[in-house]
């Protein structure tokens, strides 16, 4: 029992994290979350609303997952309500604002793109989404 549930909202995977995200489950959570993200998804939303504890192993897991996704031009979006104790901790270690944070799941989903629509082609006006144009301008020198 790892306590993770992954649901899809309009093709966007949403993971609801358990009460405790710590060294006891961080590794397995990361494996399952990476498996939950397909090649055609540009977002992974993680809902930490119900999570009460996060330790350095859990934080490390989120940083790495975020890095892994950004290498594929995908985004890891965190839902942490402003009243959550986790928010102060996330700010202390820089997890926020390194990863985008939202008060509610609805707010996070509003920032995502439906699966199968490549970034930049359908929503090139959205400055927050890395676009196909960025990719061309950032080619190695």
């Amino acid at each position: 029992m790892i306590g993770l549930t992954v649901e899809h909202h309009d093709g966007v995977p949403v993971g609801t994290l358990p009460l405790d995200v710590d060294s006891a489950n961080a590794r397995r959570l990361r494996d399952e979350l990476e498996a939950a993200v397909g090649n055609d998804t540009f977002d992974l939303v993680l809902d930490l609303t119900a999570t009460q504890y996060l330790d350095s192993a859990g934080i490390d897991m989120l940083f790495r997952l975020g890095q892994r996704l950004s290498q594929r031009r995908a985004h890891l979006r965190l839902v942490i309500p402003p009243t959550s104790q986790l928010l102060r901790l996330a700010e202390v270690v820089g997890l926020v604002p390194t990863l985008p944070r939202y008060d509610t799941l609805a707010a996070a989903l509003a920032d995502t793109e439906p699966a199968g629509e490549p970034n930049g082609l359908s929503a090139s006006a959205d400055a927050r989404s890395p676009s196909a144009i960025d990719e061309r301008t950032q080619r190695p020198r």
């Binding site: 009460l19 405790d20 710590d22 060294s23 006891a24 504890y53 996060l54 330790d55 350095s56 192993a57 934080i59 490390d60 104790q85 102060r88 901790l89 202390v92 270690v93």
Partner: protein, 115 residues
């Protein structure tokens, strides 16, 4: 192990009348110290550590002692350095003593009892 320990410490702090924020900070910092203690052991199975808590003059003090030898930050990725950062940020004082007998981390924080 850590989740159960956090809840035990959390319940003790609640009985003491410590507010939500302080309780969160102290339990998370204690958990980081205990996580270090577990890493000091040869493997997860023989990890032995003890946690002692006391409260005096408005200050909560948590002592985490293990019998292993202290390893430096590089022992497991960057995550461990972050554990130390968390302890320092969430607590007022962090003292680490190490010797042949093992390692002892003493965490202190002034709290505002809610009653």
């Amino acid at each position: 192990v850590l989740a159960g320990m956090r809840r035990t410490v959390g319940r003790w702090l609640t009985r003491l009348g410590v507010g939500d924020e302080d309780r969160f900070d102290i339990t998370v910092a204690t958990s980081e110290a205990a996580g270090n203690a577990i890493e000091h052991a040869y493997g997860p199975s023989d990890a032995t550590f003890s946690v002692g808590c006391d409260y005096a003059l408005g200050t909560v003090r948590v002592t985490v002692t293990d019998c292993g030898s202290w390893r430096t930050v590089a022992s497991r990725e960057a995550g461990r350095g972050r554990g130390m950062l968390i302890m320092h940020e969430l607590m007022d004082e962090v003292n680490v003593a190490r010797g042949d007998w093992g390692t002892r981390v003493v965490l202190s924080k002034r709290v505002e009892p809610t009653r």
